[in-house]
């Protein structure tokens, strides 16, 4: 059974556990009572507001029928957060460590054989892994942090629909994975306007430099045709509203308490753009990706599960 079959089967055959507002151990999910009539439906997008990063993920993933929808027993999972900068979590420069941890826990609970986490950071990688809080949190949860700091970790792939970007060196952890979760943080960006799902994938390649030199937005959209993440989870808990992508101080950050999940990362970016306060079509790489047929940005036509917590 390949991933696609598995996914279909699970979606059609299972009605799993909503009780994800459940606090405490993740291990309880699969025995918990089924909730909401809405779970089990195939959503284009799930959006949550009002809770902690972990609680929001619990409820959002249950709306998808639980993590087993995506992770089969024994599969190798890659989780790609944004760990680009040597800044603490409250600065909103990196993905929230609580969210990353929660995802890792869910994966392992669903029977993943291993969960690998990495990012090709902009600041020195060890400082980023350390000060983002992600390194320690992931390892505590049983995940594996791997370095992305050496060219030797990358292999060349072709980008099928690339207009400016036809080839890229991609981290082997992603190439060897069965399941791929893209976990960007939503934030301001000085030149791509905002950073969310597609932009986050610049952290799986070695040569970002080429992207900047060859029409950044087009390259971001191009790379989306390489491999669609199985699920994108946009962390909009602490959102950097200006001075991005690094930020200057905590004053750049708004506590938005939101999260967006989608199997279509163009849709996830479109929703994230709205949360951030811009029109998706104003963000050039979102528009380009939608035009290239890599995903949808027409939020009004999507089936969206809106969940409010707290």
């Amino acid at each position: 059974m390949d991933r696609r079959d598995f996914l279909k089967k699970t979606l059609s055959g299972t009605i799993v556990a909503g009780a994800t507002l459940a606090f405490g151990k993740v291990g309880g999910f699969w025995n918990a009572a089924a909730d909401a009539a809405e779970s089990g439906k195939t959503w284009d997008l799930v959006a949550v507001r009002g809770g902690g990063p972990d609680a929001m993920f619990d409820s959002a993933i249950s709306a998808y029928g639980g993590m087993r929808t995506f992770v089969s027993r024994g599969s190798k999972v890659v989780v790609k957060p944004n760990i680009g900068w040597d800044v603490p979590p409250e600065r909103g420069g990196n993905t929230n460590p609580k969210l990353v941890t929660r995802i890792v826990e869910h994966c392992l609970d669903a029977g993943a054989s291993e969960v690998t986490v990495f990012d090709h950071s902009c600041d020195s990688w060890r400082q980023c892994y350390l000060n983002s809080g992600i390194g320690e949190a992931v390892e505590k949860a049983g995940g594996k942090m791997v370095s992305a700091d050496s060219k030797g970790y990358y292999r060349e792939v072709s980008v099928p629909k690339g207009k400016r970007l036809n080839k890229a060196l991609v981290h082997q952890a992603l190439l060897d994975a069965d399941v791929f979760f893209n976990v960007p943080v939503l934030k301001d960006h000085s030149s791509s306007m905002l950073t969310a799902s597609m932009k986050n994938l610049m952290g799986v390649v070695w040569d970002r430099w080429y992207w900047h030199r060859n029409d950044l937005h087009q390259c971001i959209a191009d790379f989306s045709s390489f491999r669609r993440p199985d699920l994108t989870i946009v962390d909009a808990y602490n959102v950097m509203k200006r001075n991005g992508p690094r930020g200057v101080s905590v004053n750049d950050v708004v506590n938005m308490k939101a999260q967006v999940l989608s199997t279509d990362f163009v849709a996830a970016d479109a929703a994230a753009a709205k949360l951030y306060g811009v029109e998706p079509s104003d963000v050039r790489h979102i528009r380009l990706a939608a035009e290239m047929g890599l995903g949808r940005m027409d939020l009004q036509n999507l089936s969206i599960n809106r969940i409010k917590l707290g």
């Binding site: 020195s124 000085s190 030149s191 060859n214 029409d215 004053n251 709205k274």
Partner: protein, 532 residues
């Protein structure tokens, strides 16, 4: 205490100093060098002295202790604390056991070298000191030769372990390649290796300025090795194990100025005819004492003649970056045409000014080894001839991490003075210069903004630029007042061969203004609702 047990004691102390000092330079996993450095290097003579010149604090009195130690026991510094001395013993031992015999001191050379070193230093050029000073030479050998081998071994092992799914050993990126430093380190390793296998501590007793200086002091040392003429049967064993070649058993004399206090002779003498005594025995202060002093003075004068030339070089303009790591191997879309105009190299934060830095740095490369970002790289001639190998900020392959103060914490000589994180974040080592004609936004009409992304203070910010159809273009603008010169922009700038933005060094470091933090404009209130 039995005199014979002084040798094993000396070996043990030397091994500890050698091991700890080597660890500082090889700690590529950053497991403790930072916290240990001050304690381990406290007694290193030249760095401590230079540090003392800067600020006469308790932390910089190690060299005074060494002086007291030398006046009491002779040059035990050379046999225990000095890592290059211990390294020579190791190399000498690797080269097999050798029989030494007494030779005359090369007083002419050693006093001339010391004199020239002092004169040049006083005149503002540390060139000779940097080339000959033992701690720095040891550091460069470790940092430029041993460390790369260690990294290669680590990376190979990491590769093997990764196949088995273990990622605890990660690969470590190479530092920028610095052929000049590697060459000098290799030359020095070969020189001390050759001398130590053949002639023991000949380097320490002819070329090392610290050894010569301590040798002058040790002529007056209280406890030194002397012959008990009544007990000596002239078997000659002491002379044969004296790696300083300073024992003349026939004359029953020990040249205290060259004796490094290894105590091999004490351990080997069957009759206890050698004593470590305070009493003046045969009064053998060493051969050629007076001619040596005369030559020392002559050397001092001769040195001042040759001084002008080297001193002048210190002020010569920096040459282009030539020993930096090569750019990523991707064909650039279009080559840029406007060269950067660098008028000054960038010295590390905490070094205050190029002048201060170059006059205090001995190019030991501890900061180069310890820099987590690998932004520090040995210079070629950017600081002039006399500043060769002294580290500079090279943004070719890295930038200076905004929160990091490692180099200022670890520098043993006070060339890079300690900075608090807050102070470091406002220390302006240089200022970003934007060359619009090289910028991707200007040449290609597409967004880039890599420079602004990396800027920790937003001194490099993006401003609206001529908008093509459907494109909200923005182009960089520099606010020099809040720029700290970290090089994030230059490092990230994708243009080649010339950068569209680069950092020009401040000859004297300045204090950048704090970025103004405006109140955030209120958000469009969606309550807890969804805007879609």
């Amino acid at each position: 205490m039995q005199l014979g047990s002084l040798k094993p004691l000396r070996v043990a102390v030397a091994a500890i100093f050698l091991g700890l000092t080597a660890f500082l330079f090889l700690d590529f996993r950053e497991i403790g060098a930072r916290s240990m450095a001050d304690a381990v290097l406290y007694l290193q003579f030249a760095p401590s002295f230079l540090n003392f010149l800067e600020a006469a604090t308790l932390g910089a009195t190690g060299f005074l202790i060494v002086i007291v130690l030398t006046l009491a026991f002779g040059r035990v510094y050379c046999s225990t604390i000095c890592p290059l001395g211990a390294l020579q013993d190791v190399l000498g031992r690797l080269g097999g056991r050798r029989r030494y015999r007494f030779t005359k001191a090369h007083n002419g050379i050693r006093y001339a070298v010391l004199g020239l070193t002092v004169v040049l230093f006083v005149a503002g050029s540390g060139l000779l000191l940097n080339l000959l000073e033992p701690f720095s030479n040891f550091g460069r050998i470790l940092s430029n030769l041993v460390r790369p081998l260690l990294l290669a071994a680590n990376n190979l092992a990491a590769l093997v372990f990764e196949q088995a799914g273990y990622h605890g050993l990660y690969r470590v990126r190479w530092p920028a390649i610095a052929p000049l430093s590697m060459g000098v380190a290799l030359a020095m390793l070969l020189l001390v290796g050759w001398l130590s296998t053949g002639r023991g501590r000949l380097y320490c007793n002819t070329l090392c300025p610290v050894g010569t200086l301590l040798g002058i002091l040790s002529r007056f040392s209280v406890f030194r090795i002397r012959f008990d003429s009544g007990a000596c049967r002239e078997c000659g064993r002491c002379e044969r194990v004296c790696k300083a070649e300073c024992i003349d058993f026939k004359a029953q004399s020990v040249d205290a100025s060259r004796c490094v206090g290894c105590y091999n002779c004490l351990a080997v003498c069957p009759d206890n005819a050698l004593r470590l005594s305070g009493a003046s025995g045969s009064g053998s202060g060493g051969a050629g004492e007076n001619p040596g002093r005369r030559k020392f003075l002559i050397g001092l004068v001769a040195g001042s003649v040759g001084l002008a030339a080297t001193g002048a070089n210190a002020a010569s303009p920096p040459s282009a970056m030539s020993d930096a790591a090569p750019p990523p191997a991707v064909t650039p879309s279009r080559s840029t045409t406007v060269p950067e105009k660098r008028t000054s190299p960038v010295s590390p934060p905490g070094s205050r000014s190029i002048k201060h830095f170059t006059s205090r740095c001995t190019a030991c490369h501890l900061c180069v080894s310890a820099c987590p970002s690998r932004v520090l790289a040995p210079s070629l001639f950017e600081y002039g001839l006399s500043g060769m190998m002294q580290p500079r900020m090279s943004f070719q392959s890295a930038h200076c991490n905004f929160d990091c103060t490692v180099c200022s914490e670890i520098c043993p000589s006070g060339a890079i003075l300690p900075l608090s994180k807050e102070r470091k974040q406002r220390t302006q080592v240089g200022v970003a210069q934007f060359i619009r004609e090289n910028c991707v936004v200007y040449t290609d009409n597409t967004n880039c903004g890599a420079c602004s992304e990396h800027c920790p203070t937003k001194a490099v910010h993006m401003v609206p630029y001529l908008n093509g159809p459907g494109r909200k273009l923005v182009i960089p603008e520099v606010n020099a007042a809040i720029c700290v010169g970290c090089g994030g922009c230059e490092h990230a700038c994708p243009t080649r061969p010339y950068k569209a933005i680069y950092v020009n060094g401040n000859p004297s470091h300045k204090l950048a203004e704090k970025p103004v933090v405006e109140k955030m404009e209120p958000l469009p209130d969606t309550g807890e609702d969804f805007p879609f």
